[in-house]
């Protein structure tokens, strides 16, 4: 049955040239829940994530097969504009990516400017809302018009999150959003995730199993491009069905 989940992949495969990076993965993404993708390096979890908002379209050597449903509709259908998909499915990257020529404010509203929002008041309200959601407002409200590169790494990552949230996406994809951050900034972002999931569906790739256990509702374990196991997070971490999952979460490899 289609449309049961916010997103869903069906037999999704991704090829890098001849390399088969993701192998026929079918995975549901529950609405307003946090889904964590875990697995050892090179297991295809980031490749899988980037297929969800068609980021692979930017790289001509990558080929995607299978279906990715967003509210029951295939985002790879020929009539679908990838630009629209990316507006509905936002993304936060491993490293903070503030636009260095823009102020903090301009960074946050960059996505709104793309859809032609010019009204100063509306932009300011959206910026404040997004920055509050990203738990950054109190730290930057007095210097909104200063360059974004003056912020610390953790602040820059929350700015990237605010920027993604400002366009009000339905789904937010996060690719190891805390791997480049210190423990305190990591804590701030993990706290933030718990509050965000009331409004937005989140898929997060993480290297850190404890992080997956702490923040997510569902967990998917990837190995060699295949989905080994998907279940509620507490089930995966307490009573996994597959011996490979158990081996991974108990630290026997990866």
């Amino acid at each position: 049955m289609e449309g049961r989940y916010r997103m869903e992949t069906q037999r999704l495969s991704v090829y890098y040239g001849k390399h088969h990076g993701v192998r026929g993965v079918s995975l549901p993404v529950h609405d307003r829940k946090i889904t964590a993708l875990i697995g050892p390096s090179g297991c295809g979890k980031t490749t899988f994530l980037r297929a969800l908002n068609r980021m692979h379209d930017l790289n001509p050597i990558v080929r995607v097969e299978g279906r990715v449903l967003l509210d029951g509709e295939d985002v790879y259908a020929p009539e679908v504009d990838p630009v629209v998909v990316r507006r509905r499915v936002g993304m936060v990257f491993q490293r903070p990516t503030p636009f260095p020529t823009m102020s903090i404010f301009e960074n946050v509203v960059a996505g709104l400017r793309l859809v032609g929002v010019r009204d100063r008041k509306r932009l300011m309200e959206a910026a404040e809302r997004a920055l509050r959601m990203a738990a950054l407002w109190d730290e930057v409200k007095d210097r909104l018009h200063q360059p974004a590169v003056g912020l610390s790494g953790g602040q820059q990552q929350r700015l990237s999150i605010a920027r993604a949230l400002a366009v009000e996406p339905e789904v937010l994809l996060m690719d190891e959003p805390t791997s480049a951050l210190d423990p305190i900034s990591t804590q701030a972002i993990e706290d933030l995730l718990a509050t965000l999931k009331d409004e937005v569906t989140i898929v997060i790739v993480t290297h850190n199993m404890q992080q997956a256990a702490r923040v997510s509702d569902y967990t998917a374990f990837f190995l060699d491009g295949e989905l080994v196991e998907f279940d509620r997070t507490e089930k995966i971490f307490t009573n996994p069905k597959d011996p490979r999952t158990e081996a991974y979460i108990t630290g026997r490899f990866g």
Binding site: N53, M55, L58, V83, V84, R86, R87, G90, M91, F93, R95, T97, F99, P100, T101, M102, A110, G111, R113, L114, V115, Q146, P147, V149, G150, S160, R163, A164, V167
Partner: protein, 314 residues
């Protein structure tokens, strides 16, 4: 000889060599400034520095030398050439970095760079034999006839449609400086991290929006450096301009008519300078040209510092 002594001696020799050669370069530059100033002093004294700069007559027969006509010629041709060259140069750079398929990138970049390797005199010859007739028949004559019939007021601005003159010089100059502006812009664009592009794509940007809002702003310092290099090249370009501009220092200039730049004036009159004052005036023109190049570089350095990315300005 103990090893340590040998090594240390070599070290000292090398340091002395490097410092000596570097100082030599600096001294040579200072010497050039000094010689130009000395050589031009007679003219600068006779007319006064400002008088020389603003004097609008350059008449070797009457011994009257004002640098304003060639100065104006240099500024007009350089500015116009830069204006014409900028968008093609940026487009070429964008094409190579953002649009060209991988197999084509290298070839296109190489061909554009090749434009910089062509000797100036070859541009001049090409200008005389190809561009000048083309400009005369296809641009100047039609425009002139049209203006004569419909807008006689424009004729004074257009000037004689001979092909040899300011317009041809500007066109060739623009072509000559494209590779400089383009090469630096290309390097700067190629250095924009892929993560910056992806971040903008992920917000729902089209390719054009990514280029306009992220790629070009990120690369702006490098693009500007290319513009400055191209401008410096245009200001000093001598051979091709001398061959095409018609070499007339009589104001007012017209678009089609002959004109002169500082460099073309020097090249053109140096061998014929009879008296000391004339020679001195030519050297003084060279001195002014040097000052302009210097001022361009200083302004550029200042702008670049303000443009540079990062934590510098908080």
């Amino acid at each position: 000889m103990p090893g340590w002594l040998y090594r240390r001696l070599g070290d000292r020799l090398f340091s002395a060599l490097v410092v000596g050669l570097a100082l030599g370069v600096v001294l040579a530059a200072l010497a050039i400034v000094w010689v130009l100033y000395q050589g031009g002093r007679e003219a600068l004294h006779t007319f006064g520095f400002l008088g020389f700069l603003t004097g609008s007559r350059w008449d070797a027969v009457r011994g009257e030398f004002g640098a304003w006509p060639p100065l104006l010629g240099t500024l007009l041709t350089s500015a116009a050439a830069l204006f014409l060259a900028f968008f093609p140069a940026l487009s070429a750079a964008l094409f190579v970095v953002e649009f060209a398929p991988r197999a084509l990138k290298g070839a296109v970049a190489y061909l554009i760079d090749l434009l910089a390797a062509l000797p100036s005199v070859v541009y001049g010859l090409w200008g005389i034999f190809v561009l000048v007739p083309l400009v005369r028949e296809r641009v100047e004559l039609p425009l002139f006839t049209w203006a004569a019939a419909h807008a006689p007021g424009l004729l004074a601005f257009l000037g004689p449609p001979t092909g040899i003159g300011m317009l041809s010089a500007i066109l060739v100059l623009a072509l000559m400086i494209v590779p400089y502006a383009s090469a630096l812009a290309r390097d700067a664009l190629a250095l924009v991290p892929q993560s910056q592009r992806e971040a903008m794509y992920a917000l729902g940007a089209t390719r054009w929006e990514v280029i306009r809002r992220v790629v070009i702003p990120y690369a702006r310092a490098g693009i500007f450096s290319g513009v400055v290099l191209a401008l410096a090249r245009a200001l000093g370009e001598t051979m091709a301009v001398t061959m095409l501009i018609g070499n007339s220092v009589n104001l007012p200039y017209t678009l089609f008519g002959p004109a002169a730049t500082m460099a073309s004036l020097i090249a053109n009159e140096f061998t014929e300078a009879e008296d000391d004052l004339h020679l001195s005036a030519l050297i003084a023109v060279g001195f002014v040209l040097l000052l302009i190049a210097l001022a361009t570089n200083l302004v550029a350095a200042w702008v670049l510092r303000r443009m540079s990315l990062g934590e510098g300005r908080k």
